[in-house]
């Protein structure tokens, strides 16, 4: 009963990824920037699962998704810790105000 063409999922993942990129460029809030990254990772995961489904057989694709999720979790933990310290030091969440490291 399951006859959705893979390309649907791929296109969706592409769109989501692009939106993630847009958010990545557009958002000013450190935390939301991280969210943008998470969004991109999710899009990639979708692509992985779709490919895995398309080729059938052993589910290596899922394994990769699994690893991506793990890495994303780690990244979020550290990144948010960094965000906290940044806010403590700069009293601002706006990444455009965190610009001492220049020239």
């Amino acid at each position: 009963m399951n006859e959705i063409p893979i390309s649907y999922f791929l296109v969706l993942s592409a769109i989501l990824f692009g939106l993630g990129v847009l958010a990545f460029v557009f958002k000013r809030n450190i935390i939301t920037v991280f969210m943008a990254i998470e969004l991109m990772l999710n899009a990639v995961n979708l692509a992985f699962v779709a490919f895995d489904r398309a080729r059938g057989g052993p589910h290596d694709g899922w394994v990769f998704v699994f690893f991506v999720i793990v890495v994303a979790a780690a990244e979020a933990a550290v990144g948010l810790a960094i965000a906290i310290t940044v806010v403590h030091n700069r009293q601002s969440l706006n990444i455009e105000r965190v610009n001492l490291l220049k020239f």
């Binding site: 009963m1 399951n2 006859e3 959705i4 063409p5 893979i6 390309s7 649907y8 999922f9 791929l10 296109v11 969706l12 592409a14 989501l16 692009g18 939106l19 990129v21 847009l22 958010a23 557009f26 000013r28 809030n29 935390i31 939301t32 969210m35 998470e38 969004l39 999710n42 995961n45 979708l46 699962v49 779709a50 895995d52 489904r53 398309a54 080729r55 059938g56 057989g57 052993p58 589910h59 899922w62 394994v63 998704v65 699994f66 690893f67 999720i69 793990v70 994303a72 979790a73 780690a74 990244e75 979020a76 550290v78 948010l80 810790a81 965000a83 906290i84 969440l93 706006n94 455009e96």
Partner: protein, 167 residues
């Protein structure tokens, strides 16, 4: 027009709309909620793709843990509306169009991907997929798995050290 396709379109729409909301909401917490929505929708899509385990993990880890962390941090820092500054001219004038261009391009190539034509009914591996996954994870991918565990540990310590107050 069958049930799965309808479901797909519904949840794809939810995902895309959620992502857009995430971009356009000013309150970080709203963005977070929008992102959670996207993730849940994606979980459903995974179900449509027959990846039940991944769907569950997606919800448990992403929606249940990572995003909770985000929400926590937002609460902790009491992040208010983000100020739409445009100090970076580059991002303002180049970032946007390029991002859109990238999206369009990716969609184009994904449409041209040779694999795309294949329907999801292609082949379903016999047996319990979750069991196969565990076999893969603990047999062929054992080493990366252990590495990721170490990575998690390191991340844990790093987060502790970073977020700890000096006093």
């Amino acid at each position: 027009m069958t049930l799965p396709i309808i479901l797909f379109f519904v949840f794809a729409a939810i995902a895309v709309i959620g992502a857009l909301m995430m971009i356009f909401f000013r309150e970080p917490i709203h963005s977070a909620l929008a992102l959670i929505l996207v993730m849940v929708a994606l979980a459903v899509l995974y179900l449509l793709l027959g990846a039940e385990f991944i769907a569950a993990v997606q919800i448990i880890v992403y929606a249940g843990a990572v995003m909770v962390l985000f929400v926590f941090v937002i609460m902790l820092l009491n992040a208010g509306e983000e100020e739409r500054t445009n100090i970076s001219k580059l991002a303002h004038y180049v970032g946007w169009p390029l991002g859109i261009f990238l999206t369009v391009e990716l969609v184009y190539w994904m449409l041209r991907a040779p694999i795309g034509a294949r329907a999801t009914t292609a082949t379903i591996a016999p047996g319990d997929p979750t069991r196969d996954l565990s076999m893969l994870l603990f047999r062929s991918y054992l080493f990366p798995f252990e590495i990721t565990s170490i990575l998690i540990l390191i991340a844990l310590i790093g987060a502790l050290v970073l977020a700890k107050r000096d006093s």
